[in-house]
Structures are given as structure tokens and as C-alpha cells.
């Protein structure tokens, strides 16, 4: 299927996959540490395993950004 991932058009072999599967496919080592939007809608983390992405979807994922001075 064809997806737009972080602004880049990509061809992904499976015809459908969950958000978690897609993140792993894209080399994300810690899917729990990213925020995801599909077609502009935020996907809750507990829905990563059930939300299916399909042909033509626009998927954006960003790593959590945080820290502290201790």
C-alpha cells in the first residue's frame, strides 16, 4: 500500500497494518515513546495495536521530547 509517512510517500509491502506494526516497520524501537497522527487525527497510545492504516493514509509520528536538569 502507498502511505505518506512524515511527509514522504512510501510503498509499504503489507496491504494493511496496525499503527504499532507500522512503527516497528519504520524502525521505531520504542513505540510507546511516540505521538501519532493519522490523517491529522491523534491516535491514543492504547489504540496503536488496534488502529489500522490503509492505502492513501497520511501518518505522522514524532518522538516524545522531554528532559530535565537533574
Amino acid at each position: 500500500m502507498r502511505l505518506t509517512i512524515n511527509g514522504e510517500k512510501k510503498e509499504i509491502a503489507p496491504e494493511s497494518m496496525t499503527v504499532t506494526e507500522l512503527l516497528i516497520h519504520q524502525g521505531v524501537e520504542m513505540p510507546d515513546m511516540v505521538s501519532v497522527q493519522v490523517n491529522g487525527d491523534f491516535i491514543e497510545r492504547d489504540a496503536f495495536d488496534s488502529k489500522v492504516v490503509k492505502e492513501g493514509d497520511e501518518v505522522d509520528f514524532l518522538y516524545f521530547m522531554g528532559g530535565g536538569h537533574r
Partner: protein
């Protein structure tokens, strides 16, 4: 890493404005040069921690994409400690592609340093401040964002 002087000044000014809280944001670049700072809300509202607001984070990245910029770095301030990554900074540095910039206000003169943190290995990245090349008025994005979010 090259950084336009206007961006360098803006992140120091943002860090001072947020005192005693930590300030944070993205640095958008073209090639190796940082040309624009995107000030974000520290949702921790803390002087010891920061976390980006996820919605603002997406808005900033989409804005950068439209401007043909990319997220070269993230910055945050250390109001009272030196410009070096803390253990917490290192533990939470999970994006290997991005440079981590720290603005320290601990001394009389602000200090800005940049680091790559890959698999908890820290390497300092020299920051070269350059005049000019700022292709965008840095305040524009903030104004647009404020208007959008006040609706």
C-alpha cells in the same frame, strides 16, 4: 551546527522569559543551518523538567515542512545548572536524528551548547553563530500559532 544569530538570541530571550521554568522548543533548519526557533509550551510547567505539548509539536513540524525546513534540533533551558545534558536528558533522548541544544542561565552570561545523544552516548556538537541567512522572521510562527490557538 550553524545557527543564525537571530535564532541564538531568540532562544536565550525565550529562556530568560520563562524563568524560573525551563523553556523548550524546536530549531528548524535548512541544510546544516538553523534558521528559525519554534518556541513551544513546557507542559510540565517546571524549573526542573520539560515536555513538549504534543499538539504544538505536530503543528511546529508541519509548519517546518511547509517552509521546506526540517527539525534539526530541540532546545531547552537549564535555569540554574550548566549547559550539559543531565541524566534525565540522556535517558529521554530517544531520537537519534536530532541535536539537543541546552541554554544555561546559571552564570551571568548565557551559555548555549549542542549535543548528539545516541544510545545514551553524548557527543558535543560545536555551535557556530552566523550573521544573516535568517530566511524567516522568527516571530511570525509564534504569532500565527497564538492566533490559531486563541480561537
Amino acid at each position: 551546527m550553524e545557527m543564525c544569530k537571530s535564532v541564538y538570541e531568540k532562544i536565550i530571550e525565550h529562556s530568560r522569559r520563562e524563568m524560573p521554568l525551563e523553556a523548550c522548543g524546536y530549531l528548524g533548519g535548512k541544510g546544516r543551518t538553523v534558521v528559525e526557533a519554534y518556541s513551544l509550551t513546557n507542559i510540565d510547567q517546571s524549573g526542573e523538567h520539560f515536555s513538549f505539548d504534543p499538539k504544538e509539536q505536530f503543528d511546529a513540524v508541519l509548519t517546518m515542512r511547509k517552509k521546506k525546513q526540517r527539525a534539526v534540533a530541540v532546545y531547552h533551558s537549564h535555569p540554574e545548572t550548566p549547559a550539559r545534558p543531565s541524566q534525565e536528558d540522556i535517558r529521554l533522548a530517544i531520537d537519534p536524528e536530532i541535536i539537543y541544544v541546552i541554554v544555561s542561565l546559571a552564570a551571568a552570561e548565557p551559555e548555549v551548547k549542542a549535543f548528539r545523544i545516541v544510545k545514551q552516548e553524548v557527543t558535543e556538537e560545536p555551535v557556530v553563530v552566523i550573521d544573516g541567512l535568517s530566511t524567516e522572521e522568527p516571530e511570525n510562527w509564534e504569532k500565527q500559532w497564538n492566533v490559531k490557538n486563541s480561537r
